[in-house]
């Protein structure tokens, strides 16, 4: 089942049809979940026993940090898929994920900094988690820069894919940095052995905002993939006036 639906999606025309329907749905889902999430986060969730009201930054910060890593992983997986299955949409998905992931990473760093000042007493600290996320941000920038620099898009897709796969080493480093080094950043609260260490009243708004981020990512990705595919179709139409392929003829 999964395989057939994947290959159905692989066809750009089918993708266009499905994306045209999925885009408004995910956009609405993102807006609704975001609205619920923000309502709970700001008005209907308790203050933390230690951090007080400042804990509410968590509802923006944690999903952003997760999406930062999720997007990079998605990029690396699409890149591998592009090599293994020569999936025609794989490189488009990877390319269009990069700026979204970079934006999430920036948001995670920015909100983390806002959170760090009142809690830790510093806007920034060079600990393993913060440093590795900053590196992730620069990896995104490098990936996007490579795409932009190579004029031939088929070649750009392959080379950028290699870079994305190589840079993926950073993702597990980010995830486990708080366990490997005794860092300033606190260890994992949700995805950890022994269940979440966040109280249920705080977990609910967090799940809402995570949902909003995920659907927001899907909506943005679909929109920009459609854009990119349209741009490529346009380029192909323009080059249609170019001479048709030559062939070797005996003389």
């Amino acid at each position: 089942m999964a395989a057939t639906s994947l290959y159905e999606l692989a066809n750009p025309v089918r993708f266009e049809r499905i994306a045209a329907r999925a885009f408004p749905v995910s956009l609405i889902a993102a807006a609704l979940l975001g609205a619920f999430g923000l309502y709970f986060a700001l008005f209907n969730s308790p203050a933390d026993y230690q951090q007080g009201e400042t804990v509410r930054i968590m509802y923006v910060h944690v999903p952003a940090a997760w999406m930062a890593m999720f997007c990079y992983s998605a990029m690396a997986i699409s890149s591998i898929a592009g090599f293994v299955w020569k999936h025609p949409l794989a490189d488009v998905a990877a390319k269009e994920t990069a700026p979204i992931g970079a934006a999430f990473t920036f948001l995670a760093l920015f909100t983390g900094s806002l959170w760090g000042k009142p809690m830790w007493g510093a806007w920034w600290a060079w600990d393993a988690r913060l440093t590795s996320v900053l590196i992730l941000f620069f990896l995104y920038l490098g990936y996007m820069a490579l795409w932009r620099a190579i004029p031939d898009k088929t070649r750009a897709a392959k080379l950028a894919a290699i870079l994305a796969i190589v840079g993926f080493v950073n993702v597990p480093i980010i995830k486990f940095s708080v366990d490997w080094w005794n860092s300033l950043h606190q260890p994992a609260s949700v995805l950890r052995a022994g269940g979440p260490s966040i109280h249920a009243d705080m977990l609910t708004p967090l799940f809402f905002t995570i949902g909003a981020y995920v659907f927001g990512y899907v909506a943005l990705l679909l929109a920009s993939m459609r854009n990119e595919l349209m741009a490529r179709r346009l380029a192909r139409m323009e080059s249609a006036s170019a001479p048709s392929p030559a062939s070797l003829v005996e003389r």
Binding site: P245, A246, S247, L248, R251
Partner: protein, 197 residues
């Protein structure tokens, strides 16, 4: 040249298509090359001769079809660039190639008449000598199938004749060549193919 070292390598292109910049520029190419064959490819600028040659040489992945060679390590490609380093002398360039191809320098150097300039850095050579150094790599490689782009561009009449003689000797030993050129080339029994839209 000892007759014992005869080449027996064949190359075939089946329904080959090549792309440049994501666009297929040549397709439907079928070609079979036997020992002793020479193929001259002609066609207007930008028709895709160089791209096609690179696909024959195995340096470029075809957009469709395939190139089959009976021995993968028997192709040598010489493009319009001479692949030498300007700051190295002729001998240093030749020795480097010799190490890569597992071959010797002397015969190739003599075949292209490079002795007078052997100690000079490549950048000091005239265009003609630079091209001769580039072509020397074909001979030096000892490989069966020469794939050459514009071999005689920038060569004087005597040098062109010298290349034609080398080509004839190579074919006499069972070697084959695919050559793309705009210039007249005297190669008896060569097939001439035209790249046409």
């Amino acid at each position: 040249m000892p007759d014992a070292a005869r080449y027996t390598v064949t190359l075939a292109a089946c329904d080959l298509a090549v792309a440049r910049g994501g666009r297929v520029i040549v397709d439907g190419v079928n070609l079979a090359i036997e020992p002793g064959d020479a193929v001259v490819i002609r066609g207007p600028n930008g028709a895709g001769k160089t791209t096609l040659l690179r696909a024959f040489a195995g340096l470029l992945t075809p957009a469709g079809g395939e190139v089959v060679v009976s021995d993968d390590r028997q192709r040598v490609f010489c493009g319009v660039l001479n692949a030498g380093k300007p700051t190295l002398t002729v001998n240093e360039n030749l020795r480097f190639w010799a190490a890569l191809y597992g071959a010797r320098v002397a015969a190739a150097r003599a075949a292209l008449g490079l002795e007078p300039v052997e100690h000079r850095p490549m950048r000091e050579l005239s265009t003609g000598y630079q091209r001769r150094l580039g072509l020397a790599r074909l001979v030096l490689s000892g490989r069966a199938i020469w794939i050459v782009d514009e071999p005689t561009a920038g060569l004087d009449a005597a040098s062109t004749t010298a290349f034609e003689r080398l080509l004839a000797e190579h074919r006499a030993r069972g070697g084959a060549a695919i050559i793309a050129t705009h210039e007249p080339l005297d190669a008896p029994g060569a097939r001439t193919l035209e790249l046409q839209p």
